[in-house]
Symmetry: C2
């Protein structure tokens, strides 16, 4: 049996990094892709880049789609445009790509019931916007779905088919577990890394040239995500506030424990902790 | 006038990453290089790799050297071997490559007076040992010297000539300033990053597979130095304890301030802080 994305057109709402990449990959696999974007300028550029077979600023472009992917920024996903809602085909399976899941389910499940599937492809680059989409973005990356109590099994299978068609590794979990996990491995690193930059800047204010001259690849790596997109960082903390606060509280315990070892000159204990980190890190790669 | 490293043989003590790389680069520039290493097995491999023109486990190999580079691990540098001390030529300029400077000056300046120059080439890879040395390691990297009150100007100039011969960018500062700066940009990142790994492991213990499956390139980068060499991490904290404690205290203030913004739902304030981080980070690269 063919998959839903093969039988009916796929709609994509938003053609940034996620939506554009999905459009390119799905078309390469033979899908018919129709996209709704907000601004005519983006629509024009998306047509030039052939991110979808049809690109429109009118949501009616979605009318024959069997599967619609909401590839919107999180803030717009959480406050959906009434024009978009009205244009979603009444029988279509609808999914999203947002980086937190409980708030998305809370908004969309009451609107669409079991045919809404909350999803999060864990793929990205530093780029955004209509120029960002690229082939193969999802290849080998996790695509997490967080079905709710009401989610239809068929709708879930339709989204799985789409994710696997673009080479992603499918997994499912509870929305709350997803949000706790991404707080630890995605949102916490942003804050940890930003605080490092602020410390080097402020505590290093007496020797500003020296700290900048001596910063090497270790500092560059540890500070990378803290120097990333500020809107996205603030939005993640906002959308996942409780899990982020939980992660920060847990993090502070670990920093305190390391500091206590330095304070107490417990060098063997410190080395034991660092050795555990060195053994553990490959599990996360 | 030719530089000291061109007029007389250069001695290197230890042929790990730093010593081996220096031996390769100096010989490529025409220097005569003689090396003293601890173990015959390492000496044999160093000869095969031609890290120096002469390699011996007898420190007498250093006898005609005008300039000796102590490329030893920090613990051995801070507790020098009496046999090595006795073999250092009485008129030679002696320098080191240790990653903290005040403790090194405190040990070596009383022993050698003005002809000891405390130095720190800020270059590295993840490798160590006799296989690690490579050409061009110092090219374009900072080489910091931290002269004390007693340091001879001629000795300082001799080490500068050596550093610039291998393409390093020479700078000088007070030992205490160097140690504070590296605490912020090199030692603090190790602890910040290690605490992140511990948090993901321990706070993520309820969902161990999920946190590991979802960790992406951001987590990989932020956790890299925390998963590095544990002996080196503990030794850095031990040798630079006060500056590391100062950096940790400053860091905790920054983490607390970010947490307070999340707690208070001050999303504009959080975004402003993250935007400052994004603007600031390129200054450190």
């Amino acid at each position: 049996m063919t998959a839903l994305w093969q039988r009916q057109p796929v709609g994509i709402v938003g053609l940034g990094l996620m939506g554009g990449s999905l459009g390119l990959d799905l078309q390469a696999r033979g899908a018919t892709v129709r996209a709704f974007v907000h601004r005519e300028e983006a629509a024009e550029r998306a047509r030039q880049r052939a991110l979808a077979g049809e690109v429109s600023t009118d949501p009616a472009v979605l009318r024959d789609c069997g599967l619609v992917v909401l590839a919107l920024p999180l803030d717009r996903l959480l406050a959906p445009d009434p024009g978009l809602l009205a244009a979603l085909p009444p029988a279509a399976v609808v999914t999203d790509v947002g980086s937190v899941k409980a708030p998305v389910l809370a908004v969309w499940e009451p609107l669409l019931g079991g045919r809404f599937v909350a999803g999060h492809p864990m793929a990205g680059t530093a780029q955004a916007g209509v120029e960002a989409g690229l082939r193969g973005l999802f290849q080998g990356r996790p695509w997490v779905a967080t079905p709710g109590d009401a989610t239809d099994a068929e709708a879930l299978a339709a989204v799985r088919g789409l994710a696997e068609a673009v080479g992603a590794h499918w997994l499912t979990c509870l929305a709350a577990d997803h949000d706790r996990a991404v707080a630890l491995i995605s949102h916490l690193p942003v804050l940890v890394s930003a605080a490092l930059l602020q410390t080097a800047d402020r505590a290093g204010a007496a020797l500003p040239q020296l700290v900048r001259a001596l910063a090497s690849s270790g500092f560059a790596d540890t500070s990378r995500v803290g120097g990333g997109n500020p809107e996205l960082g603030a939005l993640m903390a906002r959308s996942n506030r409780e899990a982020v606060l939980g992660a920060l509280a847990a993090y502070r315990q670990e920093i305190d424990a390391l500091e206590a070892r330095v304070e107490a000159r417990d060098w063997d204990g410190l080395q034991t902790e660092l050795a555990a980190c060195a053994r553990m890190r490959p599990e996360f790669l």
